[in-house]
């Protein structure tokens, strides 16, 4: 009897600790923030009465000409100067510092904006986040491995991510990141940046990623942000992402 109770107890604990399944295609909630005349300003779905309003913008302003947002990462003077330098090039119309315009991956943590959609693939030992923008992906190892010195000496755009479950929340740490990507927008960082995430299903179909970025060289304090993503419903035509194949358009101006 005692053995049976123990067995039932163990089984119950296993069920209680079974991690949630994040698998699926998601779209970010409010990926660009709110701006007048947003990308969907001319959407036909918003036109039950009369013609839709003429759009007043084609995209969010992203050249820094209106300064930094109040909730943007707090930069040290050295990195603030870098941001201001990049802003000047963008205001002038240059894409010089825009990695994605060169078909390079957006990198962590910027890629978690997932502006064009995200696909999550999950098994017991690994969870993979795929971004439609630039066909970028990152892998989070869940099997207990840790980044080796070889990995630490070889930084990449997505970095090296390891994670573990605490109840229904996935805790992820990312290291070995290149220093030429952006934290968000075009906010620069150093090679000392690390990223910590707490990912959970806030409610069925709504995935939340609480991101904390630490960089003792570039940031005066850790920067925190929260991204949320809505899972696409089957049969709506949106539960499949499309190939991006960015290089297809490089070098063509027609």
């Amino acid at each position: 009897m005692k053995a049976l109770l123990i067995a039932l107890s163990v089984t119950g604990a296993m069920y209680a600790q079974a991690p949630p399944d994040f698998s699926g295609v998601y779209y970010p909630v409010n990926p660009f923030g709110r701006f007048t005349g947003g990308p969907a300003a001319g959407a036909a779905t918003s036109t039950p009465k009369g013609p839709p309003p003429r759009p007043t913008a084609s995209a969010p302003l992203s050249d820094g000409s209106r300064g930094r947002a109040p909730d943007a990462p707090s930069l040290t003077p050295e990195y603030m100067a870098k941001w201001e330098m990049i802003s000047k090039t963008r205001i002038a119309g240059s894409s010089e510092y825009d990695l994605t315009a060169k078909c390079l991956p957006p990198g962590m943590p910027g890629m978690m904006s997932m502006a064009y959609g995200m696909e999550v693939m999950q098994n017991k030992d690994k969870i993979t986040f795929f971004s439609e923008l630039n066909d970028a992906l990152r892998r989070v190892y869940l099997d207990g491995r840790k980044p080796s010195q070889k990995v630490l000496d070889d930084p990449t755009y997505a970095g090296y991510s390891t994670g573990h479950w605490e109840g229904g929340t996935l805790l992820v740490d990312t290291v070995a990141l290149r220093d030429n990507t952006f934290i968000e927008g075009f906010t620069p960082h150093s090679d000392a940046m690390t990223v910590h995430e707490r990912i959970r299903l806030k409610e069925p179909g709504l995935l939340e990623d609480q991101i904390t970025v630490t960089d003792p060289k570039a940031l005066t304090k850790p920067w925190e942000t929260v991204k949320t993503y809505r899972k696409a419903k089957p049969g709506t035509g949106t539960d499949e992402l499309r190939e991006f194949a960015c290089a297809e358009g490089l070098g063509e101006a027609k």
């Binding site: 947003g38 995209a59 894409s95 439609e132 190939e243 101006a253």
Partner: protein
Amino acid sequence: MKVPPIVSCAVAAAAILLAPLAQAHHSNSAFYVTKVITIKGVVKEFKWTNPHVWVIVTVDDGKGNKVDWKAEGRPPGILARAGWTPKILQPGETVTIDLSPAKDDTASGLIARVTKEDGTILANAPPPTE
């Protein structure tokens, strides 16, 4: 229909002819994204390509000159979810395009929306996710 002023068609045409065949992939910083102008013309070519689609539109400037505008759109993946298809625009059809002009003053811009002659509106993104 409001048509953007073209100060000098000769200059504009020269700019197009002399423009290097590069800059295929712009970031938004190449455009005055918070300014939208409207052009109306005939589709010369529609390219359903990543990372951006392109609509080449021949615009009559009202002075007997025709200028080819290069309207750059968002990626096929996004636009397909907004109702576009690879054949949604055909050469020869008339379209009205609301777009943000390029900062380099060439006859080009970033598409805010395209309106077909029958009134169909092609938005540059699907409705936002709530």
